[in-house]
């Protein structure tokens, strides 16, 4: 049977098993929306109407990051497409599998500066894994197949498909056939690690005296937490996670030394710096992790496991590289270790643990307790306790993000959802919506700041429409806190434009959107408010915690310093 482009679009989504699509309509996608609405009526696909295209894409990211499915979004041409760019760039930096559909003006108008025309394929080229402009109705199905394949395989990432309006209208029809499999001669994402690399890595592991395992988002994406736990516990090596990798290894386990990097723990950074072997797994030696590259881990040999060959030896030259998906690689490493039946020098390892324990004694995350003003750290700590460590936690960007990462101890993967690579303020609330939609019965929180929350505050409307009972935990310090902290440390306390003048009354704002708003100003009220919000599974709570205004995030590695040169409280 011949179908229109719009009908084909819906059939393809169904074939890919898409249940939820996030979006915002407009002229160029009206035929697609016409069919989407019909599909929704038939109970096939649910469309979630965000209040801004950036929100739609972040929601799709939250959905993808908390599940093993890609996120899907649809926006109109021109401003719809440009509004989506921040979300797309965010997904690119954090390797989130997304398929984003943009409407385009009809083919005969492309290049004419037509109404709501932008070259979105050109605009997004540097921040997508791949993108397509479809120019024939006959190509829609295969392009969609390719997009899902590319987005979800290898190192995942966002793929954009730009569809001109005139190939979705009722005149252009073609036979529908969804390809079952794909051959792309230019894209071979399935890489099997080389046996010789595994051998070499195991040799290095067995010779280590001061080893550390350093893992990132790749472990979570690969679904390799169990394999990682087995590998790590078998060796009794210390392990640290990046900001993106939290939850891949249980944070409450005794071998976990905390997050590393700019606001990582003293013990994690010191262990890295003094190690003689780093086993990097699904992590990419980001500058926020390495500090000054010249001073990076002078004695360490490095094993690097990554699915993306381009990540290897990009920032830091490594001694042994294993290109492949983390999960099978970990299995092979464990298997080879078992076969050899050997273990690293246990006396040296015990001595190493002794040094690490001494660093841990410093208790680098300590903070002076809340007196008049509530300490943000205390709120996160209490939230972790009260939610039994089992909430999904999305965050925005700033001090609150670091406190969330430091004080919420993630024991499970896919629970911590934040914008690491791009550092996008405004990410938290829409991402939390995506998570809640994927996990309707779970507790989902958004830890945010008074600056960040205002960047996608309009999404409170979406939360109302779809009854999303999020717990918004606003750590309101009245400042763009992270900016203020840098200005305090490095700009002689010249707090240039970092004071949040004219904050709205967040309680009233939440109420205006039909939610519950609470302002909490006393430490004694923190627990009660958190409990109330967590107990109410039906309504969104906006908890506006008025916190210590000039609190700083410690420890901190200043720019240009090495991992052993942390600023401690």
């Amino acid at each position: 049977m011949e179908l229109t482009g719009a009908e084909i679009f819906v059939e393809c989504l169904k074939a890919e098993g898409v249940e939820t699509i996030f979006g915002y309509p407009g002229g160029a996608v009206l035929f697609l929306y016409d069919e989407l609405a019909k599909a929704e009526k038939r109970g096939e696909i649910r469309h979630i109407l965000a209040r801004h295209e950036q929100g739609a894409v972040h929601a799709a990211e939250g959905y993808a990051k908390s599940t093993d499915k890609p996120g899907v979004a649809i926006v109109t041409s021109g401003p719809g497409a440009t509004n989506a760019v921040t979300g797309i760039a965010d997904a690119y930096m954090d390797s989130v599998p997304l398929v984003v559909f943009t409407g385009q003006v009809p083919r005969y108008l492309i290049g004419n500066d037509a109404f709501q025309e932008v070259d979105i394929v050109g605009i997004t080229r540097p921040c997508v894994k791949h993108n397509f402009l479809v120019t024939d109705v006959k190509d829609i199905a295969e392009t969609i197949k390719k997009a899902f394949y590319i987005a979800t395989t290898g190192r995942p990432g966002p793929v954009l498909i730009d569809i001109p309006k005139d190939i979705t209208d009722t005149d252009a029809k073609c036979e529908f056939h969804y390809p079952e499999s794909l051959e792309m001669r230019s894209y071979n994402p399935i890489l099997k690690s080389r046996d010789s690399d595994i051998q070499k890595a195991v040799d290095m592991i067995l010779n280590a005296e001061r080893p550390i395992i350093y893992t990132g988002g790749g472990v979570i994406m690969s679904g390799a937490s169990d394999e990682l736990r087995h590998f790590t516990q078998n060796l009794n090596f210390p392990i640290t996670n990046t900001l993106m990798g939290l939850g891949a290894y249980p944070a409450t386990d005794k071998q976990f030394v905390g997050m590393l990097g700019m606001h990582g723990t003293y013990e994690a950074n010191m262990s890295m710096h003094h190690s003689d072997l780093i086993i990097a797994i699904g992590a990419r030696f980001d500058d926020r992790v390495t500090g000054n590259i010249e001073k990076f881990c002078p004695d360490a040999k490095i094993i690097h496991v990554d699915i993306d060959p381009a990540s290897i030896s990009k920032n830091i030259k490594v001694d042994c590289s294993i290109v492949g998906d983390v999960k099978p690689v970990l299995l092979e490493l464990s298997k080879e270790l078992k076969q050899r039946g050997a273990m690293p020098d246990q006396t040296a390892l015990a001595a190493w643990w002794k040094r690490i324990t001494a660093w841990q004694k410093y208790d680098c995350l300590k903070y002076s307790p809340s007196k008049d003003k509530i300490k943000a750290q205390y709120i996160v700590q209490k939230f972790w306790e009260i939610s039994a460590g089992d909430s999904y936690v999305c965050s925005d960007v700033g001090q609150h993000q670091m406190w969330a990462a430091q004080f919420y101890k993630f024991d499970k993967p896919n629970r911590w959802i934040n914008s690491g690579g791009l550092g996008t303020m405004g990410f938290g609330l829409p991402a939390a919506m995506g998570v809640q939609l994927a996990h309707p019965d779970a507790d989902v929180a958004c830890i945010t700041g008074d600056g960040s929350i205002q960047m996608c505050i309009q999404e409170l409307g979406t939360c109302q429409q779809y009854n999303l009972p999020l717990n918004i935990i606003s750590l309101n310090n009245g400042y763009l806190g992270m900016v203020r902290q840098w200005q305090e440390f490095f700009y002689q306390k010249n707090y240039a434009m970092s004071y949040n003048e004219a904050l709205p009354d967040f309680v009233k704002l939440a109420e205006a959107y039909g939610h519950v708003g609470l302002r909490i100003e006393k430490a004694a009220d923190v627990e009660g408010a958190l409990k109330e919000a967590l107990d109410d599974k039906k309504r969104l709570y906006f908890l506006d915690f008025i916190t210590e205004a000039e609190e700083n995030v410690y420890p901190m590695i200043p720019a240009g310093a090495g991992l052993n040169e942390m600023k401690l409280l």
């Binding site: 394929v121 230019s186 894209y187």
Partner: protein, 171 residues
């Protein structure tokens, strides 16, 4: 970066002959701050593939990253640094010079002969000369003819191919 480490490399790229493929490569180089000395692109014996020759400079690590990043582009089918092994490079140049008097004409013709170039157009007291060869030969020709008034130079950029039976193919 130290100067001596910045070796010249000739990279051959085989890619899907798709709209926008060229800008993906060009965009990659500008976004990551790699330099492009020259770049040529044209279809191959297989109409669905284009072949690009790109000349760049960089230290070993940078070249390794360039090759990896090129490989990562979805449209790229195969990549090879052909300057790593025995290869041939050629570049084509058109050079238009003023030929005002007989002496001048004779001198230019002499140079054309020496360099095995060809005069391909004579008009309004100008010669248009075609020269092919490697980059150094073309540079040498330009300096040899410098005494005359050079009106215009067009160079194609380098194309390259490996010697022997090695060929860049879809894997």
């Amino acid at each position: 970066m130290k100067k001596e480490e910045q070796m010249r490399h000739v990279i051959s790229i085989l890619m899907e002959n798709e709209a926008g493929a060229l800008s993906r490569v060009a965009g990659l180089f500008s976004a990551r701050g790699y330099n492009i000395e020259s770049l040529t692109v044209a279809p191959t014996e297989d109409a669905s593939l284009s072949r690009m020759t790109l000349v760049t400079r960089g230290c070993e690590e940078i070249i390794e990253q360039i090759l990896k990043q090129l490989n990562k582009l979805i449209d790229v089918v195969n990549v090879c640094d052909i300057s790593e092994s025995d290869h041939i490079e050629r570049e084509m140049m058109f050079i238009k010079v003023a030929a005002n008097d007989m002496d001048c004409c004779a001198a230019i013709k002499r140079m054309v002969d020496i360099f095995r170039a060809r005069i391909i157009d004579v008009r309004n007291k100008t010669f248009t000369i075609e020269v092919a060869g490697n980059r150094r030969k073309l540079d040498a020709f330009v300096s040899a003819i410098e005494d005359h008034k050079i009106i215009e130079i067009v160079r194609s950029g380098c194309i390259g191919i490996a010697r022997g039976s090695n060929a860049l193919k879809a894997q």
